[in-house]
């Protein structure tokens, strides 16, 4: 295909008007007193637009952003994951790896039968698709807002259960998603079941 080059007029060939035009934009920003809409909250003290100090300051991403998947705890700080391995199954890049507890597995809370022995997510493999969050029947795994996952070695970026729980459990931003879905904070699915069972006559 042949692309026709438009002939520049002498005014355009001067270049100086274009340079001045660009400089006009720079100057407008330089003297702007209008606050930024994106990170205005953080910069109440500043009146002018400035460059964000990136690694120290971070973008406050909007609700629903798909960041790194972490494991959540309930309001009583118990693990929610029951090791059903659906996320492991659905994960397209096979980033998730769960070791089921076997017969003699440890459970942390009353009424629980099964919890993962080990839960690993390879953050280098994760593609942030959110399938794990979608498939989770216990609402235990959520894509939070962390988007810059860095490390010095590959091993360091395979997050284990403790790390995932710590990162997820402490981060109350997780519940933004809940709120969006109309679910109360720190939902405990098994509580109703246990209460019902305790109120019933025992026949066994």
């Amino acid at each position: 295909m042949k692309v026709d080059r438009t002939k520049l007029t002498w005014w355009e060939r001067l270049y100086i008007p274009s340079i001045l035009n660009g400089f006009k934009v720079t100057m407008r920003h330089f003297f702007s007193w209008k606050r930024s809409k994106v990170y205005g909250d953080k910069q109440k003290s500043y009146r002018a637009k400035t460059t964000m100090q990136y690694p120290e300051e971070k973008w406050d991403v909007p609700t629903g952003y798909r960041g790194a998947p972490y494991l959540l705890k309930d309001v009583d700080n118990n693990t929610k994951c029951v090791s059903c391995q659906l996320c492991e199954f659905v994960c397209p890049p096979r980033a998730i790896r769960i070791t089921p507890p076997g017969g003699g597995g440890v459970v942390e809370r009353e009424g629980a039968e099964k919890m993962p022995d080990e839960f690993e997510i390879d953050m280098l493999r994760c593609i942030y698709c959110g399938y794990c969050q979608e498939v989770c029947p216990e609402e235990a795994i959520y894509l939070l807002k962390d988007y810059a996952i860095t490390g010095e070695s590959r091993e360091e970026l395979i997050y284990d259960k403790e790390k995932l729980l710590e990162l997820g459990g402490a981060d109350k931003r997780a519940y933004d998603h809940h709120a969006q879905d109309g679910v109360a904070e720190g939902v405990k699915k098994w509580e109703t079941k246990m209460r019902e069972a305790s109120e019933q006559p025992k026949f066994h």
């Binding site: 029951v82 090791s83 059903c84 391995q85 659906l86 199954f89 089921p100 507890p101 076997g102 017969g103 597995g105 039968e113 099964k114 029947p137 216990e138 079941k193 019902e196 069972a197 109120e199 019933q200 026949f203 066994h204």
Partner: protein, 566 residues
Amino acid sequence: MGANQAETPVKTVTVKVDGCTVEVPRTTPNWLGKQEPTTVLQACKHAGIEIPHYCYHPKLPVAGNCRMCLVHVGMPGRPGPDGKSPMNEDGSPKIFPMQLPYEPQTPRGVIGCATDIIPGMEIYASSPETRAMREAVLESLLINHPLDCPICDQAGECKLQEYSVDHGLAESRFAEVKVHKPKAVDLGPRITLDAERCVLCTRCIRFTADVASDDALGIVNRGNYSAIATYPGKAFDNNYTLNTVDICPVGALTSDDFRFQMRVWFLKETKSLCTGCGTGCNTVIGSRENRMYRYEPRQNDAVNSCWMCDAGRLDYKWIGRDDRLAKVRGPKGDTAWPSVLKAISNHLTKAGVGSVAIVASARQSNEELYLLNKLAKHFKAPTDSVPRDGEADQLLVARDRNPNITGARLTGITTKRVGSKLAAIAKGIASGKIKTLIVYGEDVTQHGIGVKLLGKLKTLIVSDILPSATTKNANYLLPGCAHAEKRGTFTNVKGRVQKFSKALEPPGDAIAEWEVLHELVHNVAGLDEFDSIEGLFNQMAFEVKAFKGAGLKWDSLGDKGADVKL
């Protein structure tokens, strides 16, 4: 039927399933193999349509209590006083869809598993009426179901899940509180019961009472509180308990061994055989990432029906043991296959007639035993195997605990009296006549050839899977494969030759014994070229008399094996 009409034996019956005319056998074998009138459920199966069912199992007596197989049927009318059946205007027999007696507008279902077919019957297997019945039954079954699929071991192979998707309602209309029953009840040493998940189909009760002859289970309490239980204080403990886990259509009965080990959808299924005894129960190995998780019985009516014993089922842990032999060892320490095979071949080529003895194992495949016997013939070497006897039971367990003792006999490794030549071999070693001993898969120090005698040998060639006193004393140690790591055939005590397939990769250097033996036999005795287990089997089937008599071919064995005359 009129007295003047001669009764002719009817072999097939014509019925209509979903509007298609199908001819089905008049009788079908029941759970004991006796011919009984074909039922609606079986007729639909012949027509290729599955009627959902929980309590019906082809190898158990019919109970008809789950109501899942309800179908709407239409019957030809009964003959009137004139002896003629009601007819349509076009001359075809009139069909009356079944309905409630005093509510003609309501269709009435029959349970497919216990209703015999009659000629001319119409089965509306997927009509809206039938679908409504299934929906209603499923809704009732799910009323008290805990829906704890995320932690249920049955999830993925659960009939309640499958039928709910295929025939159930999307949402429950049950607003009341569910009845909660005991969870994680220790029913016996190998079984855990979750009473909430149970649909009370009583398959487990019928199995243990009628098949395993141990009337251990029953239903206690009434109504919503009904639950499977054993007699108070008694454990559900016979050698066939784990079959109830297989036949449980839901996750009520779970195996302690497999509990919370792996979700079933990850398991790769490989057809294999049980090596626990001479019966050779057909199995399916469930494995993931080179780790074996479970055995399940595979139906073969000529051998094990749908069952296998607990002892055999749990006899797989040795396959993944950490101390598996994984390194080839020569006289100077660890080495590699090419050099060790060359050294052994050179040694055996120089060995004189009568200076070699072979102790093989009846845990090896037919092909391996055949190759060993080929080697033995070259040296006129005495060969034998090791007997392993236990007690037989009424159902499956055979007296002989070797999986392939018949194969060892047929290939000529051993005689009727297994192990009778071991003493002679020991004597030969003591007198110095036997200088080289080849041991495959047995610890001969346990069977009359002690460590001292082994020390008298010039060369001891051992192939095994797990370390033993014999492997410790070996000059050449060749790591072998478990049956789950190679292909081959076993011959069971009744003379059925059956295939097993490879599910796992062997550890380290280990390679299948038949490959090593093929190389050795080729170098020492000379053998026609073949490079596959199929070729080896077909050659063996041509040379071994019993196999030749049965006309065996690898391809003709199929999944269920073939009989040879003993």
